[in-house]
């Protein structure tokens, strides 16, 4: 069964100024990146999935529940959203309390919440700091707290909004590992993101939003092969793919390793000309 089904979704704040226009989609278990220019409707789309906004037309169905018929708090058991700015949610004086807030809200017992919070904090690498004040940690660490606080809720679907902002190389690697870990646990991971290299290395499926519509939808490799369409959406393919296109390397490689492998294979096939 698809975890999320969207049928003819329409949304606007003011009639005549559509923000999302007739979107129909289904999400299976594949990790999915949502890309597009600022203002393309990505954040609105995610808020609709979360039930924070209700469709003006069409349906959003999460795990069989139509968001129009459920409260945000009720949907919170099924779908978690990590907000872009961790400072918009942190209010406890202790990291552990902050992470346990969501699990306790959705009815986990004290013990279960503690267990899940510990596991989530271990996953993001903050197991040693459970008693610290979140505001004594750096912004990128607070981001990890906010990730842990959603992971601990153990929802089947987890959405990230720009998880890599203000992260350095190892921070990004860390978040990549967290996403892969969640996917391995069988969760559906969706991410709004601007960093194309990260998309190429991490996600199986990619959606391109432009002006409130889904311009492209397919495996990440298929999507990044469409250089022309991406340009229309004011996007560019990942750096690896750009070089591959320029040099005429076939197969749309997505990572450095793929590129090197493809190139070596191509080199081996072609006889060396004097």
């Amino acid at each position: 069964m698809n975890k999320i089904e969207i049928r003819n979704l329409v949304f606007h704040y003011t009639a005549g100024e559509p923000i999302l226009n007739d979107i129909s989609l289904a999400f299976d278990a594949r990790s999915t990146a949502i890309i597009g220019q600022n203002g393309a409707g990505k954040t609105t789309f995610v808020k609709l999935l979360k039930g924070l906004l209700k469709p003006v037309g069409g349906d959003v169905v999460i795990n069989g529940i139509n968001t129009s018929d459920a409260t945000v708090a009720a949907l919170a058991r099924h779908i978690g959203l990590v907000f872009q700015n961790p400072n918009d949610q942190i209010f406890k004086n202790k990291v552990l309390d902050e992470v346990m807030f969501g699990p306790l809200n959705i009815g986990q017992s004290q013990d279960e919440a503690r267990e899940r919070a510990d596991a989530a904090l271990a996953m993001v690498g903050l197991a040693g700091r459970i008693n610290d004040n979140p505001y004594d940690l750096s912004l990128s660490e607070r981001k990890l707290i906010s990730i842990a606080s959603i992971v601990a809720m153990n929802t089947e679907i987890i959405i990230f909004d720009e998880p890599t902002i203000a992260q350095d190389f190892s921070g990004k690697e860390h978040i990549k590992a967290i996403i892969r870990d969640l996917v391995a646990q069988g969760k559906l991971v969706l991410t709004i993101i601007h960093d194309m290299d990260f998309v190429a290395e991490t996600f199986e499926r990619t959606l391109v939003f432009a002006q409130g519509r889904v311009l492209l939808d397919g495996s990440t490799r298929e999507v990044f092969a469409e250089e022309e369409v991406l340009r229309q959406a004011h996007l560019e393919p990942p750096h690896v793919t750009q070089l591959a296109h320029r040099t005429g390397l076939p197969g749309t490689p997505l990572t450095v390793e793929e590129f090197v492998r493809e190139k070596r294979a191509q080199g081996a096939m072609r006889p060396v000309t004097p």
């Binding site: 945000v72 058991r77 918009d88």
Partner: protein, 255 residues
């Protein structure tokens, strides 16, 4: 974002009067009745303010502004009419309780005084953009740092209320209920107010840094992007107001 202001942009003559003259008008509206004592002067000033509010086409906007005070004034009339210490002479009886003349007169004086002050302020508040008022004060010698603080408050409050929406979304996303019994709503207080309070305090550091970079502590003579409006009519208004206050004092001394 909705700016925090009661300003009504009607562009009438009154709107073009400079903020300092309006401040002077408030001073006169309070000062003259105090000097002259008695009902008449207060009523006259109140009448004048109401007339000016009509001219500025903002009379209807006065109602919400004085609404809270009106409720208090009604209770003042009732309580003083019934219980004023100097009550002697019954004026009328209502359902068995007696209202006294002295108490009612006393409370009427309070009403005139309060309404007079409220209407004089309403004239300023409803017809002046707060940023213009602050800029005028800075030109008149208010420390630019205080000018900054005042205008910054006007910006920060709507911004903080704006963040409240995001925070409400973030906490509801974590399964927090915001509707229901008083207990449920009470419990929601801290998760909602906590992030906005912590953020606004913690971000003071970054904002101070950013202001320093923009030469906030500079001792250079500050300049202004907007041109100063100087007109002879504004000068005339100020002279008339000062003269009226002087005349009131003179009248009091002579009579």
């Amino acid at each position: 974002m909705k700016a925090l202001s009661l300003y009504q942009d009607n562009g009438t003559l009154i709107h073009r009067v400079d903020p300092i003259s309006k401040l002077l008008y408030i001073a006169a509206a309070i000062f003259i009745p105090v000097v002259l004592t008695g009902f008449t002067a207060g009523l006259a000033m109140l009448g004048l303010s109401l007339m000016l509010l009509v001219l500025a086409r903002v009379l209807r906007k006065v109602v919400p502004l004085i609404g809270f005070s009106m409720l208090v004034l009604i209770s003042v009339v009732i309580i003083q009419g019934l219980f004023y210490a100097g009550n002697r002479q019954v004026m009328f009886a209502l359902g068995g309780v007696h209202f006294y003349r002295e108490g009612l007169l006393f409370s009427a004086a309070i009403c005139v005084r309060v309404l007079n002050i409220l209407c004089a302020f309403a004239l300023l508040v409803l017809t002046t953009r707060p940023s213009d008022l602050i800029e005028s004060l800075v030109r008149q010698g208010l420390s630019p740092h205080f000018g900054y603080v005042l205008s910054s408050v006007l910006q920060i409050i709507p911004q903080m209320t704006g963040t409240m929406e995001t925070i409400t979304d973030a906490q509801r996303s974590r399964g927090m209920e915001t509707e229901g019994s008083l207990m449920v709503r009470l419990r929601a207080f801290l998760p909602l107010i906590g992030p906005v309070v912590m953020n606004s305090l913690v971000s003071t550091r970054e904002r101070s840094l950013a202001l320093e970079v923009r030469a906030f502590s500079s001792r250079a003579q500050k300049t202004f992007l907007n041109e100063e409006r100087v007109s002879t009519s504004n000068r005339v208004i100020k002279i008339v107001l000062l003269a009226a206050m002087a005349a009131a004092v003179a009248w009091r001394v002579v009579s």
